[in-house]
């Protein structure tokens, strides 16, 4: 879904043909991800052997960087594009499998804290982005899309909202470009800020999950800090994703009341349709792990499988980020997004610090 900017639409095709079409791109994701893993292992060893001072760069960053270089120099050839777009599939499968590393009690406890923080974050982010959009004179529906994208879950939320409020494709493209560009920036800025402030894994993970918009970037920003922070970032981001249906429904009702969108008939069906199903998968695997459905070795195998899925995702994040395409979308939505993101990042950091004092992490 996140590839609405860079990737052209495929014509409907037979499932078997579609399946064959994604293979080259999936192989490219695997190659880029594995190259990142090899570089992590070998560059550090080589630098050490030659007495060089070289920062320890994790496979997450290598995979993203290789993808970025390919995407912004030679570009991603057409034959790979359908497969590269599957990175969202790997992300969601990875999150479901990651459920094996959470006991249900932890999910409920951390999820409960996250839920409280997410509710505050969403309310503040929507209010602030709406104010900014009006102050910068953006079109009202573009403002709504930017607000949803930065408050809930990036590109998925924008696409879900676009359909519900009948926004223009152009508005959707602007909002997606802004959110993707800011997500790419957050990959590099968040870990630096976290280290500068000496944030604990717990605090940083929560912060990344609350403040970084797109799920793939939030997962990567967390994993770039530490494994534990990555887990927490995914949990906080998943909690945020679970809110998508309610926020989109609220916007749909608002725009319908102004006569600029279709009225929502069955609200429960609407919520179910928009609800991210991978949240349920994550909870199910977590419940199974809690009740010892898997042995210790099987849990390790599931966790490793989740890492491989994320490896493909991180490669995809780099490969689908094309700065030239993003620049074409214009400066004003980006400026609104950037100001909003900085304010939301500072606000959520304060929120996490406050929660840390209250809950002792």
């Amino acid at each position: 879904m996140a590839d609405a900017i860079a990737l052209p639409q495929a014509r409907p095709a037979q499932p078997a043909l579609q399946f064959l079409r994604v293979i080259p791109g999936v192989l490219l994701l695997a190659a880029v991800g594995y190259a990142g893993k090899l570089l992590e292992r070998n560059v550090g060893t080589y630098a050490k052997a030659h007495h060089w001072t070289f920062p320890n760069i994790e496979y997450v960053l290598w995979a993203i960087l290789i993808g970025l270089v390919i995407s912004n120099t030679v570009g991603v050839p057409q034959i790979f594009r359908s497969g590269v777009a599957t990175y969202e599939f790997w992300l969601k499968a990875g999150i479901v499998l990651l459920g094996s590393r959470f006991l249900l009690g932890d999910v409920l406890k951390l999820g409960g804290v996250s839920l409280g923080l997410v509710a505050i974050e969403i309310a503040v982010a929507i209010a602030f982005m709406t104010f900014l959009g009006r102050a910068f004179g953006l079109r009202p529906k573009l403002t709504s899309l930017l607000a949803v994208g930065s408050a809930v879950c990036g590109v998925s939320a924008i696409i879900a909202t676009q359909g519900a409020i009948e926004a223009d494709d152009e508005d959707s493209s602007f909002a997606i470009a802004a959110i993707l560009a800011l997500g790419a920036l957050s990959l590099f800025t968040f870990p630096l800020i976290g280290h500068a402030l000496h944030l604990s894994d717990h605090a940083y993970g929560l912060w990344a999950g609350l403040a970084v918009d797109n799920t793939a970037e939030a997962t990567a920003a967390g994993a770039l800090y530490s494994d534990a922070a990555g887990k927490l970032a995914v949990l906080a981001k998943t909690t945020r994703n679970a809110m998508i249906g309610f926020v989109v429904l609220a916007y749909a009702i608002y725009w319908a009341s102004r006569g600029q969108a279709k009225t929502v008939g069955n609200k429960a069906a609407f919520l179910w349709q928009k609800f991210p199903k991978f949240v349920l998968g994550f909870l199910l695997i977590s419940i199974l792990a809690t009740y010892h459905f898997f042995t210790k070795d099987q849990t390790t195998a599931l966790a490793n499988l989740s890492r491989w899925a994320f490896l493909l995702t991180f490669a995809g994040v780099g490969l689908r980020t094309n700065f030239r395409e993003m620049r074409k979308q214009g400066l004003r939505p980006f400026a609104v997004g950037a100001i909003g993101e900085v304010v939301i990042a500072v606000f959520t950091l304060a929120l996490v610090a406050g929660a840390g004092k209250l809950f002792g992490f």
Binding site: M1, A4, Q9, A10, R11, P12, A13, Q14, P15, Q18, E88, F89, W90, L91, K92, A93, G94, V96, L97, S100, I159, Q162, G163, D169, E170, S172, S173, I176, P276, K277, F278, L280, G281, L284, I285, L288, F293, F294, D297, Q298, T300, A301, L302, N304, L305, R307, W308, A309
Partner: protein
């Protein structure tokens, strides 16, 4: 750019949403590991 139409088309082609396929694939992998078909996943 009709993202919405594209996602609808792609959903129709794949029968289920990407979300649901990801959940099914992950659950299948978990079951195969549980059944002992894959005993070890290296990292």
């Amino acid at each position: 750019m009709s993202t919405n139409t594209a996602s609808l088309n792609s959903q129709r082609t794949w029968l289920l949403s990407l979300d649901s396929w990801a959940v099914l694939a992950a659950l299948l992998a978990a079951l195969l590991i549980r059944a002992g078909v894959f005993t070890r996943v290296p990292w």
